[in-house]
């Protein structure tokens, strides 16, 4: 099924006097990796959280496969998300964290071992999360996102804290997921890595849309690192 993209329509969010996101409209296509870029404070996380139903939009809406997140019958089987590397109870074991998530989504317990294997955490699964490195927490978050075998993956800076081998592993994972026809959107500040990973780009700045379209549409025919960085800085210099 190749139709479960993300559609953001006129999305706006105000926190008191601060407008974090202004009238954003863009699409995230299925079967591709989409990079979600913007300077710190541009509204990336707020936008992703509105897509996931965690933050209530002031106006506008975000649809996943044509539905609001809260209306998805089985959210974990449709959307997998990694939002921050700290969303774990420090005293809970890695495997238990995944068991809680699997139980809450009505997923079979064998999926826990499968995703542990896929992210390479099987050997550390019996340890409490307190003792995990940042990279291990990222992997645990990814494992939780993959539990429901979802069509859509929303990842907020999943590459933070990964070592070079982990970075290459993550790139291959994301490319592989998109090649299976899934929708993958992830935010990052590491443009050289983004240039190697994504097909599609959404750039926001000060809550407004800067660019949405194919990577090659922004960087020209040569998708070298330098040109993405130059294009990004050009798009985001005016606030």
């Amino acid at each position: 099924m190749n139709t479960t993209g993300i559609a953001v329509r006129g999305l706006t969010k105000r926190f008191g006097a601060v407008t974090a996101v202004r009238d954003l409209t863009f699409d995230v296509p299925a079967g591709a990796v989409t990079g979600f870029l913007g300077p710190n404070g541009a509204g990336k996380s707020t936008t992703l959280r509105m897509v996931l139903g965690l933050v209530r939009p002031t106006s506008g809406e975000a649809l996943v496969g044509g539905r609001r997140f809260a209306d998805l019958p089985q959210p974990r089987r449709t959307v997998g998300a990694v939002l921050e590397a700290t969303g774990f109870h420090p005293g809970r074991r890695g495997r238990d964290h995944l068991r809680v998530v699997a139980r809450s989504a009505g997923l079979p317990a064998r999926r826990v071992e499968e995703v542990l294997e896929r992210v390479g955490l099987t050997d550390a699964a019996h340890r409490r999360v307190r003792g995990y490195s940042l990279g291990m927490r990222q992997r645990l978050g990814l494992a939780a996102a993959l539990l429901g075998d979802p069509q859509v993956l929303v990842l907020d800076e999943p590459g933070n804290g990964l070592d070079p081998a982990g970075t290459a592993w993550l790139r291959a994972l994301l490319r592989g997921l998109a090649a299976e026809g899934r929708t993958v959107v992830y935010s990052s500040h590491i443009l050289s890595e983004v240039a190697k990973t994504v097909d599609h780009l959404v750039v926001v700045n000060a809550g407004r849309l800067g660019y949405a379209g194919p990577l090659t549409g922004l960087t020209g025919l040569t998708s070298a690192t330098e040109s993405l960085e130059a294009a990004f800085l050009r798009l985001t210099e005016h606030v």
Binding site: L54, R92, R103
Partner: protein
Amino acid sequence: MRTELLKLSTVRTPWVLLAAAQLVIVLGAVGPFLRGGTVDPAAVRSGAGHLGLTALFALVLGILAVAGEHRHRTVTDTYLGQPRRGRVLAAKLGVHLLAGVGFGVVGAVTALATTAVAVTVTDLSADWSDAVLWRTVGGGILWNVMFAVMGVALGALVGNLTAAVTGALAWLALVEGVLGMVLGEDAARWLPFSAGAALGNLPAGAGGLSQASAAGVLAGYALVLTAAAVAVTGRRDIT
């Protein structure tokens, strides 16, 4: 519900709190015997009455269940799996109602067993047919249940773990006493801790409400807090 049970059973907090509660109960129940002299039914009752006091631990556990999820950011994962937040809150209320029963019953067994041992060791006697003793035990269990539920509602209402726990304990240890002096005795007995003390037949509750009215008052607090918690939970942005 099953997810919430698994969450509780995969961290150590409930067991630490339960153990701490038992320590308080044992010391409280042994106390009257250590002082020597004659042990009258009132002393046995006041020993057993400490079981009600451990409602404080059930309260803290309830607060931790919700505010702790905000503190550790696990609430993100919880809502990603179940975007209908009312159901999450209902499950937590249900589980902690049971946990409150558990704290109460375990505490009752500890209190009575401790008293029985103390009776044997000291050659003093305890009147096991004392109806007030059994009403004290029953009231103490119910107090645990009420405070467990109120803890969940309070945690959901406040969200900030530190504020909720310190606020609740400061209320019980300090604020309610001060407020009681301002309001006068007639009004003060309707406040939560006074009502709890009356329900659990604590000496501090003497002259307060009857056990039945105290139970009603606490149920009222639990309902109001829960209603407020439901309203706040649906609107809260998880950032």
